[in-house]
């Protein structure tokens, strides 16, 4: 089967483009298309049905889709950047949990300084964790499932609303309760169930 600049080659390109709607390394699609065409020409020449051959070649070259290879390229090229992002995100999350958790303990035990401890935690949640969550969502918008999108959106809205509510509460400003309530609902009713469901599903997969 000779594949040149004809319908067959266009179909390979179209199949790859369908798999990856947004590509960060634009040269990868024609490169993978050439690779697939070579496989069909040399390794699947016995297959008379082009569609079947194309499916088999796609399965060999990019079983996880062309977007996965593109994502791996981006990851490899921006490794240090994503490493620092993770460090900042988990550092901010850890700080927020530490201060909010201890702030609640201080308040329940009527120890002095509860307000400032809580305030620090909410500020970390608002100014470090929430912007990082937004960045992560925007970076992965084209490759995440619907459920993941709902989970991440709930996390952003929940963190934003909860931290603002907390700051308002500490400062005795109006609107704190409704903001806290909305934030807790987004985190507890939407984010948490999806997060645990997805973690459970991942634990069942053979790769885990």
């Amino acid at each position: 089967m000779q594949i040149s600049e004809n319908l067959a080659y266009s179909r390979i390109l179209a199949a790859l483009q369908t798999q990856a709607k947004v590509i960060r390394s634009p040269t990868i699609i024609p490169e993978l298309a050439d690779h697939i065409a070579c496989i069909i020409e040399f390794e699947l020449a016995h297959e008379p049905d082009f569609d079947k051959a194309l499916q088999q070649a796609l399965e060999i070259v990019c079983p996880g889709g062309a977007a996965e290879i593109d994502e791996n390229i981006t990851l490899l090229l921006t490794f240090n950047f994503s490493d620092n992002m993770k460090r900042l995100f988990y550092g901010g999350l850890c700080t927020a949990f530490f201060f909010i958790g201890n702030g609640f303990m201080f308040r329940m035990l009527h120890w002095p300084g509860a307000g400032i401890v809580l305030f620090t935690g909410f500020m970390a949640l608002l100014f470090v964790v929430t912007p990082m969550l937004i960045t992560l969502l925007l970076n992965s918008l084209n490759r995440i499932s619907g459920l993941e999108l709902v989970q991440q959106s709930a996390a952003i809205l929940g963190c934003l609303s909860f931290s603002l509510g907390g700051i308002f509460k500490v400062q005795h400003w109006p609107g704190a309760n409704i903001s806290l309530l909305f934030g807790m609902l987004a985190l507890n009713v939407v984010f948490m169930p999806i997060f645990f469901y997805r973690t459970y599903k991942q634990s069942l997969s053979p790769a885990a």
């Binding site: 990868i28 490169e31 050439d34 690779h35 070259v61 791996n72 390229i73 990851l75 090229l77």
Partner: protein
């Protein structure tokens, strides 16, 4: 071949192939590895292309597009920095293999001959 053992040798492998053959394209690299290793090493495309793009970003290889059989084909070849790195990497891998060979070759047990 265990992917664990292959980890870390992919870059030297690509550089060595390009050093030997001048310029190659993606499919050719996978086939050459398959051929030389007598089908014991099967290079996955999902590993090869990210590695090639990383080498390209590091300035160790260069890419030029050509039309082959009516379709665009990307050929890779070593840059000057790539030649230097390839030689260094080949020496490093050979040293490593020598050490491993020494460590994994069964040695006669010594120290119990005083009976």
């Amino acid at each position: 071949m265990s992917p664990e053992l292959l980890k870390g040798t992919l870059t030297p492998l690509i550089l060595k192939l390009l050093l030997d053959r001048g310029r190659m394209y993606g499919y050719e690299i996978t086939q050459q590895v398959k051929l030389i290793s007598r089908e014991r090493i099967l290079l996955k495309e999902g590993t090869l292309y990210p590695a090639l793009y990383k080498l390209l970003a590091d300035g160790l290889i260069t890419a030029e597009e050509e039309t082959a059989g009516g379709r665009a084909r990307r050929y890779y070849s070593l840059t000057q920095a790539g030649y230097t790195r390839a030689s260094e990497q080949i020496n490093l891998v050979n040293d490593f293999l020598d050490i491993m060979r020494e460590m994994f070759t069964p040695q006669p047990r010594l120290g119990h001959a005083d009976i």
